[in-house]
């Protein structure tokens, strides 16, 4: 006889236990995600018939990704942009940019390794990360991303190992360098597609800008990192130019994004209000600041570092801002309703 705990009826409690895969879950109690409703208590539950919602409850589920994902966007972006710079540097046959190239490759290797780690960390079931590569599914940007990410490190490593060699190996290294640059291009921009390919109104609405913004921001990020950490006279101008173009493009893309999303005013709301609005606006200011610093005459190290810091902060805050805006957008049923009522649902496709 197995000893069992019994209740007052002397009933084997195991009898009533839920079993099976569904049963094991521990559920977040309703009240934690209901706090907002609790605050609305007191208001009479009379619906607004002209602009109805279901008690103001969200239609969509919030993104479940936590802090690691915006960080991944940033790190991955910076790594990818570095690799792009690295493979562009191959064009220079003078050897002056060898250092830059090496640094780019290493930034790519470290960055993509870190990205992978962060990504796995964010997974609900990290032990199953490799399931990402079970299939090849072009409709899933995340699946594409997994393939991209997994192609980055090998090519970057090969490039790092052989690019400076001569002969066959060197050629192999150079081809790998170009490949790593291509995957870097993909790595730093696909994340824009990743979130644009979603039901979240603010992301979906700004889908035409997001990859550009993310790409530009990746350039700015990479530029800023090089600005801050390396003092390579030969490469300075290259990274500086790359970064500055990135900053300018990031700023332009930010403005474009706001306008894109703002085609349905309600959809852009998270960019103006709340935590997401704050992050977004500050990011823009930072990026603008770093751009200003980098285009003003004079190239002191101090100023470059300052521009780098601001640029980095701008890029990071931008990613968090976008992430938070997505969360806020999912929470707001009217964002979905108005977007679709404005003809920006499926109607837009005709």
């Amino acid at each position: 006889m197995i000893a069992v705990t019994t209740d007052g009826r002397d009933i084997d409690l195991e009898v009533a236990k839920l079993s099976g895969e569904g049963a094991l879950q521990k559920v977040r109690p309703v009240d934690t995600h209901m706090q907002r409703v609790a605050r609305e208590w007191g208001k009479l539950p009379t619906p607004d018939t002209s602009d109805p919602t279901y008690y103001g409850r969200p239609v969509l589920k919030e993104p479940v990704w936590h802090w690691a994902i915006p960080l991944y966007f940033y790190v991955g972006g910076a790594a990818g942009a570095s690799l792009v710079m690295g493979s562009a540097a191959q064009l220079d046959r003078s050897g002056e940019l060898e250092n830059l190239m090496r640094r780019c490759h290493w930034a790519g290797i470290i960055g993509s390794a870190l990205s992978g780690a962060i990504l796995i960390y964010d997974l609900g079931k990290p032990s199953r990360f490799h399931h990402m590569l079970r299939v090849f599914r072009p409709t899933s940007p995340m699946n594409m991303g997994a393939w991209i990410l997994s192609s980055v490190s090998p090519s970057a490593i090969v490039a790092a190992m052989f690019a400076q060699r001569r002969g066959i190996l060197g050629a192999f290294g150079e081809i790998s360098g170009v490949a790593s640059g291509l995957s870097g291009l993909a790595l730093s921009t696909y994340t824009g597609v990743l979130i644009a390919n979603s039901a979240i109104p603010v992301w979906q609405e700004s889908r035409r800008v997001l990859p550009i913004l993310f790409g530009a921001s990746a350039m700015a990020s990479a530029g800023s990192i090089f600005d801050m950490f390396f003092e390579d006279r030969a490469a300075r101008r290259v990274t500086y130019t790359f970064g500055t173009v990135g900053r300018a493009a990031e700023l332009a893309a930010s403005i474009a994004l706001e306008r894109q999303a703002g085609r349905v005013p309600h959809v852009a709301r998270p960019l103006h209000t709340g935590a997401s609005g704050f992050l977004w606006k500050t990011a823009t200011v930072m990026t603008a600041g770093s751009l200003l610093l980098s285009v003003l005459p004079g190239r002191s190290r101090k100023r470059r570092v300052a521009a780098g810091v601001m640029g980095t902060l701008g890029s990071i805050m931008m990613r968090y801002g976008i992430h938070q805006a997505g969360v806020a957008s999912a929470r707001d049923p009217r964002a979905t309703f108005r977007q679709q009522r404005a003809g920006h649902g499926a109607a837009e496709l005709d």
Partner: protein
């Protein structure tokens, strides 16, 4: 195997929540906690990882055309995963955990899902969610296990008024159209179908679980014109191309331009 699905006729629903309980019982899902919401009789709030059927209660200051009860009516609607013909969750799943079954339903394979959470933001109806313990995505299976045994889904079986009709989609669609006509004849002009086919909901290619409603979709917390995100992703992919090209150009330019000085 003919495509199977649900036709949920909300005008027949009496808000008894038998479907909610039957689903939980069959699938052995735990409760969502005990919290008085003050939202009419709805205390489970929304669909989620532990609630695969959810009955909405709408008190509205608008009369039904067939009812004499003052300027008021109370609507019920039992919501569920739509098993979309073009399913955002399925198309976005990077692991292939979500598959289309022989019944044309959308099924998450629990042993494959790695909890990336991408399906969650890709469902235009806010249906699928991650479990809060092991983070796997979890939603209505259309009772795949029961269908395999030639049984109907637990929720439909439990519904006392046949508000939830389960069957071959072709039949259901025909039935639903006839039903709308019938209701119109009876004076309930507001009745219409939501998502019954590709024509009525091009964004999703039609829902395998569609509804008969009598007010705007928003009232029931349903999106008015949902679209599977992949359909719009082309724009983003294009932009990505532009971005990549621009970036490549910028890099090349920087190297060439930087070197010249």
């Amino acid at each position: 195997m003919p495509a199977k699905g649900f036709f949920t006729d909300t005008t027949l629903c009496i808000g008894c929540k038998a479907c909610e309980v039957a689903c939980k019982q069959w699938n052995q899902l735990p409760d969502d906690g005990f919290f008085f919401t003050g939202m009419s009789y709805d205390n489970t709030v929304a669909l989620g990882a532990s609630t695969w059927r959810h009955v909405a209660f709408i008190e509205r200051p608008v009369p039904l055309q067939t009812q004499d009860a003052g300027a008021f009516s109370w609507l019920f609607s039992s919501d569920v995963c739509k098993h979309c013909a073009r399913a955002g969750c399925l198309e976005s799943c990077p692991t292939g955990a979500i598959v289309r079954t022989e019944f044309e339903s959308v099924y998450v394979q629990p042993d494959v899902c790695n909890g990336c959470g991408y399906c969650v933001v890709n469902c235009p109806f806010g249906v699928i969610d991650r479990r809060s313990d092991d983070n796997r995505a979890w939603k209505c299976t259309l009772c795949y296990d029961r269908l395999r045994e030639d049984m109907q889904p637990a929720c439909a079986k439990a519904c006392p008024t046949e508000s939830i009709k389960f069957g071959d989609l072709d039949h259901l669609r025909a039935e639903a159209r006839a039903r709308v006509e019938d209701l119109h004849e009876k004076g309930l002009r507001e009745a219409y179908l939501y998502g019954e086919d590709e024509h009525s909901q091009p964004g999703t290619g039609g829902l395998n679980a569609f509804f008969l409603l009598v007010d705007k979709p928003e009232v029931y917390n349903l999106p008015p014109d949902p679209v599977v995100p992949t359909k719009k992703a082309k724009d983003a992919w294009t932009s990505m191309g532009v971005a990549a090209a621009g970036m490549a150009l910028a890099a090349v330019g920087a190297v060439l331009w930087g070197k010249e000085r």
